[in-house]
Symmetry: C2
Subunit: 343 residues, 2 copies
DNA sequence: ATGATCCGTGAGAGCGCTCTCACATCGGGT
DNA sequence: ACCCGATGTGAGAGCGCTCTCACGGATCAT
């Protein structure tokens, strides 16, 4: 009973062809929507397919077409980060949606450890997938150097570290966003604008900081005093804000480089008895739909449309897979300020 | 060297064999760790593999072995639920971890719509994967009826609706957990114990309610008055608690069937000016590591070890794939009360 | 010595599909 | 009448791998 006694073998294309009274070649033509098939043959084959419950064998198909119809989505981040930061949930969700729309199967690869990296490399090199979307923002991460050697189309999210030559990537205008946020605070008449940065081993964090700097005209010593790394976590944001309040008691505005950190910063400001936005104006980054509208007060934030970014990545990858001529290797998407109550 | 647009074709087993001076068969034996190979041949083949950077073609291998080395993990839930409820993040994380440990590739399938279901069915039937882990708790969900017809080993999380005959599943003792929670409240001397349930189209919610009922000995009319559906969401938990406070002003304890809802219930109790646990004792369910320890006050909760459940599912599935004799089709894992401050 | 057994090996037959090529058949222009 | 191209079709050659089978040579018991 428990032993799967020899189940009826899956019908093959040969069976379908026989039942339809045509050759395997014609049956194949019908399945692949080739134009040169007579209506009668088409009809006979589709009927046979239905009658037999035929499903093409993907392995056989992949063997000859050299296409699997699947792409890998690879995240290289510590495990807690991926699962606790809603930003990643949003990325996965967007990827699932965009790939489904392109009728491409998504294979999720999470790389936390060196063994995971080896496994992922084997997998990507093994021809399991036609291409990959890679999220590996950290300096010193070995994933990009592995993937760039692979004979596999890859599109990166943001700017990975190392040489960019030959890479395809979709980035956001993080520096422009930083400028936007900071200039908004300046236009509000704020004089002492500090910033909570992300980890500076990520380009996005570096660029947002650069935006703040260019808008404030901060000197090197200003940077040392007026900025603090919040590690892109909520708790980090709280701690960084607390440290800045200590160091710069007369601060009247802060640009926080992610909404999650901004939520932590708001906690710290509340704990310190500062009113937002009256005493301290706060601008976040991401405009994350699960965070920004729900903080107290609702967070003014720089929108980076993650769903849009992933969609561009997918479109780009699909084009690479089709070997269509590519317009640009590198896309930079705009950011826009979304004003709410915190600034 | 050669035309850049035509990348060097991937070496085949034939190439490896030629370079090693053996036959394809012997090379294959080495790759598949067959015992009957001379040390010299083994050495020669491994050297050739390294030298050529050979990677077996998975499609060809899958074609003959009828094994892909991948399994699908299928979630059938509305999109917002999957991404906003930390329970699912935890499930995905556990699945990724357990499957990686078993050296099986994970293919994540998210089913939100009828089209998604059709796509998933095609995918599962297409021989892309060797088996599947299915999370589809809702009554009326068509996924289980689809998957049970597939000639594919499947292990279900919890009890799906419909006939259980022939299904493999790993469940938690939800009813026992409900009893545990409620008896704990009784032992505290609480007299009016209400409950916030999950959506009753899920067996887990029904079972937890049954546990509460058996421990309280509630009559049918009690059930109508003392229970409220919180839909397994935070906001639903808040609303349900508010409704119960309205209806049963003298309640002194509540069993909330998930931690996420319990967080909402705590909000409602705070809003109503009830102290926890002095005025109202609260017990949650899940003991979710991201929630239970962090509420105010920290939440007493019934632990269901999700990671353990998924691990059991994976072990079970791997055993099915190996066609090993299966001990039991159905496993029920124990639950245990974790006391904190809320009760 | 003779046979029986084992061990390492290679030849070769597929797995189920796609795709090229050659071949009929059928108009329609000259 | 002729040839021409367009059109639908089938035969068959692989894609890269695994696995059965047969075979020669070494090892063992008799």
């Amino acid at each position: 009973m428990s032993v799967p006694s020899h189940p009826r073998p899956r019908p093959t294309l040969e069976d379908v062809a026989a039942k339809a009274g045509v050759s395997r070649a014609t049956a194949s033509r019908v399945l692949n929507a080739s134009p040169r098939v007579s209506p009668e043959a088409h009809e006979a084959v589709t009927a046979a397919v239905r009658a037999l419950g035929y499903q093409p064998n993907q392995a056989a198909r992949a063997l000859v077409t050299r296409r699997t119809g699947a792409v890998a989505v690879v995240f290289s981040e510590p495990e807690p980060k991926i699962f606790d930061d809603p930003h990643f949930a949003w990325l996965i969700r967007s990827a699932a949606r965009s790939l489904a729309a392109a009728d491409v199967q998504m294979v999720l690869l999470l790389v936390h450890s060196p063994e995971d990296l080896a496994r992922a490399e084997r997998f990507l090199a093994g021809g399991h997938v036609d291409g990959a979307l890679v999220f590996a923002p950290h300096r010193g991460d070995h994933l990009p150097s592995v993937t760039r050697k692979l004979p596999l189309p890859v599109v990166y999210a943001g700017r990975p570290w190392g040489p960019l030559r030959g890479l395809h990537l979709v980035d956001h205008d993080n520096e422009g966003g930083g400028v936007l946020a900071t200039e908004h605070l300046v236009s509000l008449g704020r004089k002492r604008i500090v910033t909570v940065t992300g980890p500076l081993d990520e380009h996005s964090a570096v660029d947002r900081l650069a935006g703040w700097r260019s808008a404030t005209g901060a000197s090197d010593e200003d940077v040392a005093r007026l900025t603090e790394d919040g590690g892109f976590t909520r708790e980090g944001g709280r701690r960084a804000m607390a440290a800045l309040l200590e160091r710069v008691p007369d601060l009247d505005a802060v640009f926080v480089a992610s909404d999650l950190m901004a939520a932590g910063a708001l906690d710290a400001l509340r704990d310190a008895g500062r009113r937002v936005p009256q005493d301290v104006a706060v601008v976040g980054f991401d405009d994350h739909p699960m965070i920004a509208p729900h903080t107290t007060p609702p967070l003014t934030s720089v929108r980076q449309d993650t769903g849009n970014q992933v969609e561009h990545m997918v479109t780009h990858l699909v084009r690479l897979l089709r070997e269509e001529p590519i317009r640009a290797r590198r896309e930079v998407l705009p950011t826009v300020l979304v004003p709410r109550d915190s600034a």
